[in-house]
């Protein structure tokens, strides 16, 4: 502001360096950076691990990806966990999903996952822990 009022400053500086340019400019830059981030990180990859109640990796658990649609979560894809308990989805289109894992005899688990944008790539920090009495949360 003060620069704008300062008659000594060169004209271009007065026109460029005032709050009507700087504030929208900053916002635009933030938007561009954010979009660049989004475009490089939206492959729809969701990776994670499945473990049992005592924390050991579970192989062959059926892992399902549920995608929110209007009022309910709809099954989008399913896969089996590998020997180290890991699994990966590559086709997640949504930003509001749930992951469920189930293995007969070991138990099941279902967790909601929220993403910052659609198809955000994510590696789950917490493994899905299968328990016997897990209730289906929606």
């Amino acid at each position: 502001m003060s620069i704008r009022d300062d008659p000594a400053a060169p004209r271009w500086r007065r026109w460029l360096l005032n709050r009507f340019v700087l504030v929208p400019g900053t916002l635009a830059i933030i938007a561009i950076v954010w979009n660049a981030w989004v475009f490089t990180h939206n492959h729809g990859k969701i990776a994670g691990r499945v473990v049992d109640a005592s924390g050991r990796a579970v192989e062959g658990a059926e892992v399902k990806l549920w995608v929110f649609n209007f009022t309910t979560f709809v099954e989008q894809a399913s896969t089996q966990s590998k020997s180290d308990g890991s699994f990966q989805f590559t086709s997640n289109p949504s930003h509001n999903i749930q992951l469920s894992a189930e293995k007969p005899g070991v138990g099941r688990s279902r967790i909601p996952v929220r993403l910052y944008f659609q198809s955000e790539d994510l590696t789950l920090k917490q493994p899905l822990q299968l328990t016997e009495a897990a209730t289906e949360g929606k």
Binding site: N69, F70, T71, T72, V74, K138
Partner: protein, 416 residues
């Protein structure tokens, strides 16, 4: 030709010159579809339209969606301007007025040409779209009221199960209404509260729809009882003052014993009430199996330039394939018998409660009330409801309120 017509013709002539592109395109094979607040199904509609366009090349489809309260304003402005959408999705009884005024195309000939198409639908839902012995709409998706009940509260009050008669309903409500808790709630928009009247044998109008029939001693007694129950806390006041969020929200909070509402309420209530599971929430028919529908149907505007094509699109959108998809994705019933079977099947395993709720929608479809084909339904509602409200909230004596309502309704009936 009077002055107005001259003026209008002149303006219309001038208008054709200055028509925007999308209007001029209408004279080609362009079909516009106006849906009622279902923008969330954009992906589904896109697929449907793509398939339709493949079968009918050179056809363009314009899809519009407006939310409930705004749709009438939008449609009527378009009517006046002569640019009404070809296909329109209408909820409730609004269509009757438009049909009576000649805005909608009589679909009876189309139905007669295609009995197989008609047979796909539940006849009771189908017949609720008849006015003056003519068919105007094809069911898109349907719903009717049912009674939800809070099993936990029923157990606490020592009640064995949902009420079978109106007396039981009031008694159960009274048993549960204590302190912060109340026994009964109903949605009240449109005629959704009318099952309460019907289960006591009260009719709104005489069978010929010419005169009010509700001003009887029985009705006065009923209103009196409702008012007393409301004052005593057996019936929650929100039943008579709330619109959609308030009653559903109150029931979802877990402090109300019963809710009379349509199937759509289930998803709202479930979204808000953490307590809800098959052990705690029950869904059943209201006493006497009476219910009020709030259906959606597709109609064709009479002003449509391509009525054949428009009807073909309606058929396409309500076909087994697409109705099934809609039923599965949106968890609704479509009145398309086969589609509903498939839809219910997919819900069954996933959400048994939703299955129970939707199941009620297919039972006792012959006992629907509050869906009279009245051309001035909105005006009659406006004349009747405030007085009813006065009576049950104890602001007016039941007899006076009914007499006032009768006068108001008579005036509406006389006007048309």
């Amino acid at each position: 030709m009077d002055r107005r017509t001259v003026l209008k013709t002149g303006l219309a002539a001038a208008g054709t010159l200055a028509m925007p592109a999308y209007l001029r395109a209408q004279s080609n094979k362009k079909i516009s579809v106006l849906t009622w607040n279902i923008a969330d199904q954009e992906a589904l509609f896109k697929e449907e339209f793509d398939e339709f366009k493949k079968a009918n090349p050179s056809v363009e489809i314009e899809w519009l969606d407006k939310k409930g309260p705004d749709l009438p304003a939008f449609y009527q402005t378009q009517l006046v301007a002569g640019t009404a959408p070809d296909v329109i999705d209408i909820q409730g009884a609004l269509w009757v007025e438009w049909a009576a005024n000649g805005a909608l195309l009589d679909l009876t000939p189309y139905f007669q040409n295609d009995p197989a198409f008609v047979k796909m639908f539940n006849p009771d839902y189908m017949s609720s779209f008849v006015y003056d012995k003519k068919n105007y709409l094809v069911p898109f998706y349907v719903a009717k009221t049912l009674l939800y009940y809070n099993k936990t509260m029923f157990k606490e009050a020592g009640l064995s199960g949902p009420p079978k008669t109106f007396d039981e309903l009031l008694a159960s409500a009274q048993a549960m209404g204590k302190g912060e808790k109340t026994g009964f709630l109903t949605l009240n928009f449109d005629w959704l509260y009318w099952p309460l009247m019907k289960m006591n044998g009260i009719e709104l109008l005489t069978p010929d729809y010419k005169k009010p029939a509700f001003n009887t001693p029985a009705a006065a007694e009923l209103l009196d009882r409702l008012a007393k129950s409301t004052a005593a806390g057996a019936i929650n006041k929100i039943a008579w003052t709330g619109r959609w969020v308030e009653p559903n929200g109150a029931f979802a909070s877990g402090t109300v014993g019963m809710l009379q509402a349509h199937s759509a309420s289930y998803f709202f209530v479930k979204g808000q009430g953490r307590w809800i599971n098959p052990e705690t929430l029950g869904a059943t028919q209201a006493p006497g199996d009476w219910s009020t529908p709030t259906n959606h149907g597709f109609g064709v505007s009479k002003s449509s330039g391509n009525p054949e094509l428009a009807f073909a699109l309606v058929k396409h959108m309500t076909s087994v394939k697409w109705a099934t998809r809609l039923a599965q994705i949106r968890r609704v019933l479509t009145a398309n018998i086969e589609a509903d079977k498939a839809g219910l099947e997919s819900v069954k395993a996933d959400d048994p409660l939703a299955y129970a709720v939707l199941q009620t929608q297919l039972e006792h479809t012959d006992k629907m009330t509050g869906n009279w084909p009245l051309a001035n339904d909105a005006q009659i509602k406006e004349a009747f409801w405030p007085e009813f409200q006065n009576a049950v909230l104890g602001r007016k004596d039941a007899k006076t309120a009914l007499a006032d309502a009768e006068r108001a309704v008579t005036r509406v009936l006389r006007r048309s």
